[in-house]
C-alpha cells in the first residue's frame, strides 16, 4: 500500500519537511544536549564538564535504581487496563450519539482542561480521611448501626475511615484520572466509521455481545487501542507530580528520583543518565510490542 518516495517527490518533500525539520531542531537538538550531559560530570554547583564518562550510567544501573525502574514499570501495567476498559465504554457511547458528536468528545475532555494540580487537590478532598467518600460511608455506617440497634443487634463498632490516600492505590486512581482522555481519543478516532454491519453480521450469526466485542470490534480497533496504550502508559512512567501529591512513603517512582536529581541533588548528569535509561527501556518495550504484534499478524 505504501509507495516509494521517488514516485511523488514533490508531495514527499512538502509533507516531510515541516515536521522533520521541527522535530530535529526543536526536539532532537535540545535532547542531544542533555544526552551529552549524561556523559558529563559536575565540576561545581553550576558547571558541567563533558568528560565522556559513563560512570553516571553505571550508577543508574545499580540495584537500588534498577529496582525502582522495575517497580515503576510493573505498577503501570494495571493502569492501562482500567483506563482502557473505561475508555472503551466511553468510546462506544460516542459512536452511538447521532448528533453532537463533537460535543460528546468535548464533554469528555472537559475535566482535563482543569489544571492538574487543582484536580489532584480536588481528588484529595474526595479521598481524604475526612473526605467525601469516607464522609458518605460514615453516614451509611452510622445509620446501619442505628437500624441494627432497632432490630435488637449490637451496634456496629466505631467507623474506621478508609485509607484512600497517601498510598499506591491513590496514585493509580490519580493517574487513571489524568490519562483517561488520552485513551479515549485514539479509540474514538478508530472506532468511528467502523463498519457496523460487521457487528450486526456477527450478532446475526449467533455470537453474544461480549463475543462480538472481543472477536470483531477489538481486532478492528486494534491500531486505536495500541496507540491509546502507548499514549497513556508511557507518560504515566514519567509522571512525578501525581505520586508526589497522592502517594505515601512507598510510592516513589523513577520519575520522582529523576526529578530530585535535577533539583535538590543538583546532579544533572546523573538525572540525565537515569532519564535516558528510562527512555531506552521504554523504547525496547515498544519495539518488543511491535515485533510481537507483527508476528501475530503474520500468523493470523
Amino acid at each position: 500500500m505504501e509507495q516509494s518516495w521517488k514516485q511523488a517527490k514533490a508531495a514527499f518533500a512538502a509533507v516531510a519537511t515541516p515536521p522533520v525539520a521541527w522535530l530535529i531542531f526543536f526536539f532532537l537538538v535540545p535532547l542531544a544536549v542533555v544526552w551529552g550531559y549524561s556523559f558529563g560530570e559536575n565540576t561545581g554547583p553550576v558547571t558541567i564538564d563533558l568528560t565522556g564518562t559513563v560512570s553516571n550510567y553505571f550508577r543508574a544501573l545499580e540495584p537500588l535504581y534498577l529496582g525502582i525502574f522495575v517497580k515503576s514499570l510493573g505498577s503501570r501495567g494495571s493502569r492501562p487496563c482500567c483506563a482502557w476498559s473505561s475508555a472503551f465504554g466511553r468510546a462506544r457511547h460516542f459512536i452511538r450519539v447521532a448528533e453532537g458528536q463533537g460535543m460528546a468528545a468535548a464533554a469528555d475532555q472537559l475535566p482535563f482542561w482543569t489544571n492538574l494540580l487543582i484536580r489532584t487537590y480536588a481528588l484529595i478532598a474526595v479521598l481524604r480521611t475526612e473526605g467525601y467518600v469516607n464522609f458518605t460511608m460514615e453516614w451509611f455506617w452510622n445509620n446501619a448501626s442505628g437500624l441494627m440497634t432497632l432490630v435488637g443487634f449490637e451496634p456496629l463498632g466505631e467507623f474506621e475511615p478508609l485509607q484512600l490516600l497517601y498510598n499506591n492505590a491513590a496514585v493509580i486512581v490519580g493517574l487513571v484520572y489524568v490519562h483517561l482522555p488520552f485513551m479515549v481519543l485514539p479509540l474514538y478516532s478508530a472506532l468511528d466509521r467502523m463498519d457496523r454491519s460487521l457487528m450486526e453480521a456477527s450478532l446475526d450469526l449467533g455470537a453474544g455481545h461480549m463475543r462480538t466485542i472481543f472477536s470483531v470490534v477489538v481486532p478492528l480497533a486494534a491500531p486505536g487501542i495500541a496507540s491509546g496504550i502507548l499514549i497513556t502508559f508511557i507518560p504515566a512512567l514519567g509522571a512525578y507530580l501525581t505520586p508526589d501529591l497522592l502517594g505515601g512513603t512507598d510510592s516513589q517512582m523513577i520519575a520522582n528520583v529523576i526529578e530530585r536529581q535535577f533539583k535538590r541533588a543538583n546532579d544533572w548528569p546523573f538525572g540525565a543518565a537515569l532519564s535516558f535509561l528510562l527512555m531506552y527501556l521504554t523504547l525496547l518495550a515498544i519495539i518488543a510490542q511491535g515485533w510481537v504484534s507483527k508476528r501475530a499478524e503474520r500468523r493470523g
Binding site: Q3, P30, H93, L116, E259
Partner: protein, 280 residues
C-alpha cells in the same frame, strides 16, 4: 394523541441498554465529581479547601482583580490555541508521511517521533531550558504574544507526535482506492489531499486537536522550565499560589477557565457544524 410505547432497544443500540448506561454514569461520576467539588468550593467562605462554611462570591472578586492571574489565563489560552493549530498541521503531515511513503530512514524517523511521548517531562523541560538559554536564545523583552514563543515551541514539540499517532491510527482505515480514483478523475496531488484525504482524517484531526489543546493547557513541568517572569502560564501561576496556601481563589479561577474554554469550544463546534451543513 395516545402515548407510544417505547420500543425495546435494538441489538446494536447499546446506549439504551442499562449496563452501558450504568457504566457511563459511573465513569462520568468519577470524572466529574472532583470537578463539581472544586466548583462548589469556589463559593466557600472558609479559606481552606476542606470544610464547607458559607456561600460567598468574594473569591471570584479576588480572582478577577488579580492581574497576574488574568494575564496567566490569557497566556495559557493563547499558547494552547497556537500550539493546537501548529500541532495539528505538523501532526497531520507527519501521519501522512509515515502512512503513505516508503523511504530510507523511515524506521529511525518513526522512533524519533515516538521520543517526545517517551521522554520524561522533566528531562524535556531541562533540555528546553538549556536550549533556549544556550543554543537558541529567544530574544527577551518582545511584545506579547511573541514573548510566549519559547513556551509555544516547547509545547508544539511534545504535542505534535501525539496528534500524529492519533491521525495515523485513523488513516489506517483509509481505502487507497479512493485516492487513486480521485487521481484517475484528474485531481492533482493537492486537490486529492484536501478533498479526499482530509475529510477522512477529520475525526482523527478533531481528536488530535483536542488532545493537543489539553496537553498544552494543562502542561506544568515543561512550561515551568521555559517560562520567565513575564510569560507565566496558568498552571505555573496556580502552582505558586498553591505552594503558598490552598485558597478558594484558585478554585474560582479554575471555574472561570472551565467556563471560558467550554464557551470557546461550543463556538468552535457550532462553526464546524455550520460548515458541515454547507457541504453538498
Amino acid at each position: 394523541m395516545a402515548a407510544e410505547k417505547k420500543a425495546p432497544p435494538g441489538p446494536l443500540e447499546y446506549l439504551r441498554r442499562w449496563p452501558l448506561q450504568a457504566w457511563i454514569f459511573a465513569v462520568l461520576a468519577f470524572l466529574y465529581l472532583p470537578l463539581i467539588i472544586l466548583m462548589a468550593f469556589s463559593f466557600n467562605t472558609s479559606r481552606r479547601n476542606i470544610v464547607w462554611e458559607g456561600f460567598t462570591f468574594k473569591w471570584y472578586e479576588k480572582a478577577l482583580s488579580n492581574d497576574s492571574l488574568i494575564q496567566a489565563f490569557v497566556n495559557s489560552l493563547t499558547i494552547a490555541f497556537i500550539c493546537t493549530i501548529l500541532s495539528v498541521i505538523l501532526g497531520a503531515l507527519a501521519a501522512v508521511l509515515l502512512w503513505r511513503f516508503r523511504f530510507p530512514g523511515k524506521t529511525p524517523l518513526e522512533g524519533a517521533m515516538a521520543l517526545p511521548i517517551v521522554v520524561p517531562e522533566i528531562c524535556m523541560g531541562v533540555a528546553m531550558l538549556v536550549f533556549f538559554a544556550r543554543v537558541f536564545p529567544w530574544p527577551t523583552g518582545m511584545p506579547w504574544p511573541l514573548n510566549l514563543g519559547a513556551i509555544t515551541i516547547a509545547h508544539v514539540s511534545f504535542s505534535f507526535p501525539f496528534v500524529a499517532t492519533v491521525v495515523r491510527a485513523r488513516l489506517a482505515s483509509f481505502n487507497r482506492e479512493l485516492e487513486e480514483a480521485a487521481k484517475d478523475l484528474g485531481a492533482g496531488e493537492w486537490r486529492t489531499f484536501m478533498d479526499v484525504l482530509v475529510p477522512h482524517m477529520q475525526p482523527g484531526l478533531v481528536a488530535g486537536a483536542l488532545l493537543a489543546f489539553t496537553l498544552s493547557l494543562d502542561d506544568f513541568v515543561i512550561t515551568f522550565f521555559t517560562a520567565g517572569p513575564d510569560t507565566i502560564t496558568f498552571p505555573v501561576k496556580v502552582y505558586s499560589m498553591l505552594r503558598f496556601s490552598v485558597t478558594p481563589e484558585v478554585n474560582a479561577a479554575s471555574t472561570i477557565l472551565i467556563v471560558v474554554t467550554v464557551a470557546l469550544t461550543a463556538i468552535g463546534l457550532q462553526m464546524q457544524g455550520l460548515q458541515g451543513e454547507k457541504k453538498p
